[in-house]
Amino acid sequence: MDYSEKYEVVIGLEVHAQLATESKLFCGDATSFGAAPNTHISPITMGHPGTLPKTNKKAVAYAIKMGMACNCEIEKENYFARKNYFYPDLPKGYQVSQHTTPICKGGYVTIKTAAGARNVQLNRIHLEEDAGKSIHDINPDFTCLDYNRAGVPLIEIVTEPDLFSADEAYQYVTEVRKLVRWIGVCDGNMEEGSLRCDANVSIRLKGETKLGTKVEVKNLNSIRNVKKAIEFEIQRMIALVESGGKVQQQTRSFDASDDTTFAIREKEEANDYRYFAEPDLSPFSLSDELLNDIKNSMPTLPAALLQQYIAEYGLNEYDATQLCLEKETADYFSSLVSHTSNYKAAANWMNGPLRQYMNEHKLSFDSFALAPEKLAGLLKLVEEGQLNFSIASSRILPVMIETGKDAATIATELNLLQVSDSNELETWVNGVIEKMPDKVAEYKKGKKGLIGLFVGEVKKVSKGKADPKLVTSLLEEKLK
């Protein structure tokens, strides 16, 4: 039975993004992923007696960037707060975070839904340090602790309960990942844990204004899992309520092996984090100058760029959207159109042959060696009729990418340039006319559509080298 008419789903998401700074939030230790355990752990990371934190300004700037990308209000008077709790992977016994003054307040992220674009309201974005990693499955008798991650800067992006389906949650996380990558503050890699998501899910009867009891689902390490976990939770909650049960406030974890969730904490423990202002760090003010500098350093965001591509370059929405999926793609396109004014062709080339080649060869634009001006050179040859599109895309482009040579050189070397020499064309045209006397007679009787057949035949004979425009006019003249 479909209960979607009866119940409404309300979801709030907390996305943790590890900032792509080289060093940690409060000390100089490296943040790189995948290092041998406990190799990026200075006395400061380990909370040795006598150590003090020192704020990484770049991390602050990155948090502000994300706030600007999400249309947040930036808090100018900031301080860090201590969130106190004991856990072995938390070296100091408290996490330095932000409490009453998150660095970014409000804001929204625009997502596409079936009903059109919609702004998902954010509550806040705040800056905090990550904890270390507890590894329970290496040794049955011990928990292993890796403190490399302890102190890595995070931003926590918290939405209002403003998502209403698993699909919307999927769209939202996709959009957030695109944004963090676009502005370069996080690599967005969910598998490595640089982007992590917790979902607060509740259901209520349609028309009800009060929020239902929420369940927090943790451990969602892919966008697919965000969707699957929420879908499972919705079904579980509805089944529970329909059978006369009540949703319990719980923390649950997602099991990707069968797309289900299971309770890890039956009842929300009464955590009292005893927040207070971190006395080892002075409060810090953000100057207008700093905020302006950061604003000026922001790239054009995908939504704005998409509109620009449509308005300035006359692209259709589909083509523009494809080009704005990743910043590297958009950057390549922007560079390409500075070398050609045939914008439509440029978009077609990028979304067509180039993307196909890159998919086949598992390449991406951030490490793509073919200079945009070289690609523009190829486009020019096609535009001028010196190469036909299929030869250019299937035979020239791969060689260009592999050798870095320019299009004209390759075309000449492979003898692929279209022939516009009238003597040679005349020989091919005359040959075709002689070979097809019946068709010529039909044409002369008025079956003008046959011109295409003749042109095709010339193309065949010339192995694609004959310029079709010249061939057409030559044929028309000869068959008058």
Binding site: P43, M46, G47, H48, P49, G50, T51, L52, P53, K54, T55, R82, N84, F86, Y87, P88, P91, K92, G93, Y94, L145, D272, R274, F276, P279, D280, L281, S282
Partner: protein, 479 residues
């Protein structure tokens, strides 16, 4: 035979060839051994100190003096990190812990040629006013071995008092330098909050803690302060202002405007002799042409509760890192779960006073009590800051007794924490508002014990404070 009086005289003796750094270190090592019963030192770095003294003697012969503290023998309270050396805060929970780095002050001392002779006993995690809360046992007052030296930097005070080093560095969160200086009859300075980097100082209460200096005279305090002050990229709460350089020849004839708090001198807990001596000194000052005025200070009764709420709150968090997971004491008792494991480690590792303050601090930060205690205390602290500003708009300095009583007997107050906390009534003020304070050993009590007077100036005004202090010492015939 070598006899220390001041860094200046010592340096002259070195330059004249009357002594050497090596000879001096030997002298102090033997002094410390002779005075072992005082329990001032937890560890003496004898070999290191002799090696360094040898280097300094050689360097001096070739290139002259190696800095403002060339060969000056310094002791460190066992809350200051010295690379490669054990660091315990006099706590069992850090037994066997070795610091991997130097505190910024240690780097600065060494850069100016100081010799670090050892680490000094103190109250556990700098919590206490008698130096009875130490895993290494109590420190005895050299003037009367049945009496406490004060705390928490008791070992550091006694080391200077008993000539076991030239200067000591302690830490002062609510009086832990000035109060033992008072009890031991020496000079003890707590600089402005943020004057000296706290990097490498074990935290008790971060927004109150400040490294302080013990010496026999004000000029030595000034030299040490100049060396260890200043900006530090590892401490974001330290001031960027240049280190204070004190020229004692300026302003010698200045007439000061001094305030004292009426409520302080009228406090029922104040020893009558101390009250009388302070009042008599005020008369002497007035007679000498200084303008000394009583100022109302109706907040006096609030400062001890405010101080203990805020410092214990910070301490409860600062001491969370001592959990037995990464370093320090780990219980050998079996445990059921993680909470058990923590409880075992921390119950065995911490002493009673530390536990008392962790519990108090956890309580005042708890949901439901937070606003009634922590938030309110923050408001009192802000009121105190404003009030202080008003006083310093009109006066050069505030004077008061340092402690309401002279050094008390060992065990006399150890069962009454509230009475013990009241010993800090005059000193916590400077930490609450962040101003510098100094205790000057101007007086002697009928018990035979010394006691002092405290002088405080506004933030970052250590130079005027030290100049005034020297004048007061001279008036008392001490310098």
């Amino acid at each position: 035979m070598f006899r220390f009086s001041s860094i200046k005289d010592y340096h002259n003796a070195l330059l004249n060839g009357q002594t050497t750094c090596v000879e001096t270190v030997h002298y102090y090592v033997s002094q410390i051994k002779t005075a072992a019963h005082l329990n001032a030192y937890i560890e003496v770095f004898e070999q290191d100190a002799i090696a360094r003294a040898t280097e300094l003697d050689n360097a001096r012969k070739q290139n002259g003096m190696q800095g403002k503290l060339h060969g000056v023998v310094v002791g460190l309270k066992d809350v200051i990190c010295y690379k490669g050396k054990t660091l315990t805060a006099s706590s069992k929970i850090l037994a066997g812990f070795t610091s991997l780095f130097n505190a910024t002050v240690v780097d600065k001392l060494l850069a100016e040629g100081a010799i670090i002779i050892g680490r000094q006993n103190c109250d556990e995690f700098a919590m206490g006013s008698s130096n009875e809360n130490s895993a290494y046992g109590p420190v005895l007052n050299h003037a009367d071995n049945t009496r406490v030296p004060g705390g928490s930097s008791g070992g550091s005070a006694v080391a200077v008092q008993a000539d076991l080093c030239m200067i000591s560095l302690g830490s002062d969160t609510g009086g832990s330098v000035r109060q033992p200086a008072d009890f031991c009859g020496i000079v003890g300075l707590k600089p402005t909050y943020g004057r000296i980097s706290r990097y490498g100082l074990i935290a008790y209460a971060s927004s109150f803690d400040q490294i302080g200096i013990f010496a026999t005279n004000t000029e030595d305090v000034a030299i040490a302060l100049e060396v260890i002050s200043g900006a530090d990229e590892f401490d974001s709460t330290v001031s960027n202002q240049p280190a204070p350089v004190c020229d004692f020849t300026e302003e010698t004839g200045k007439k000061y405007k001094l305030a004292y708090f009426k409520e302080a001198l009228e406090h029922p807990g104040l020893d009558p002799e101390i009250k009388a001596a302070t009042e008599a000194f005020i008369k002497t000052l007035t007679a000498a042409g200084h303008d000394v005025q009583a100022v109302d200070f109706e907040l006096l009764d609030y400062i001890i509760p405010t101080y203990y709420i805020l410092t214990t709150a910070e301490a409860s968090s600062n001491l969370s890192r001592y959990d037995g997971v990464k370093y320090g004491h780990r219980s050998s008792k079996p445990y059921e779960d993680l909470a058990d494991f923590y409880k075992n480690n921390r119950s065995e590792g911490f002493g009673d006073e530390v536990k008392r303050r962790i519990m108090l601090g956890t309580f005042v930060l708890s949901a439901g009590y937070y606003d009634a205690y922590y938030t309110k205390a923050q408001r009192v602290r802000n009121m105190l800051r404003r009030k202080t500003q008003v006083v310093f708009n009109q006066f050069d300095a505030i004077i008061s007794p340092t402690v309401p009583s002279p050094a008390f007997k060992i065990s006399e107050k150890s069962n009454d924490p509230i009475e013990m906390y009241l010993a800090d009534i005059y000193t916590v003020f400077a930490n609450l508002v962040g101003i510098p304070g100094i205790s000057l050993p101007l007086f002697k009590h009928s018990t035979g014990m010394p006691f002092g007077m405290q002088v405080m100036t506004s933030e970052m005004n250590e130079v005027p404070l030290l100049r005034l202090s020297k004048r007061l010492m001279q008036m008392a015939g001490l310098e």
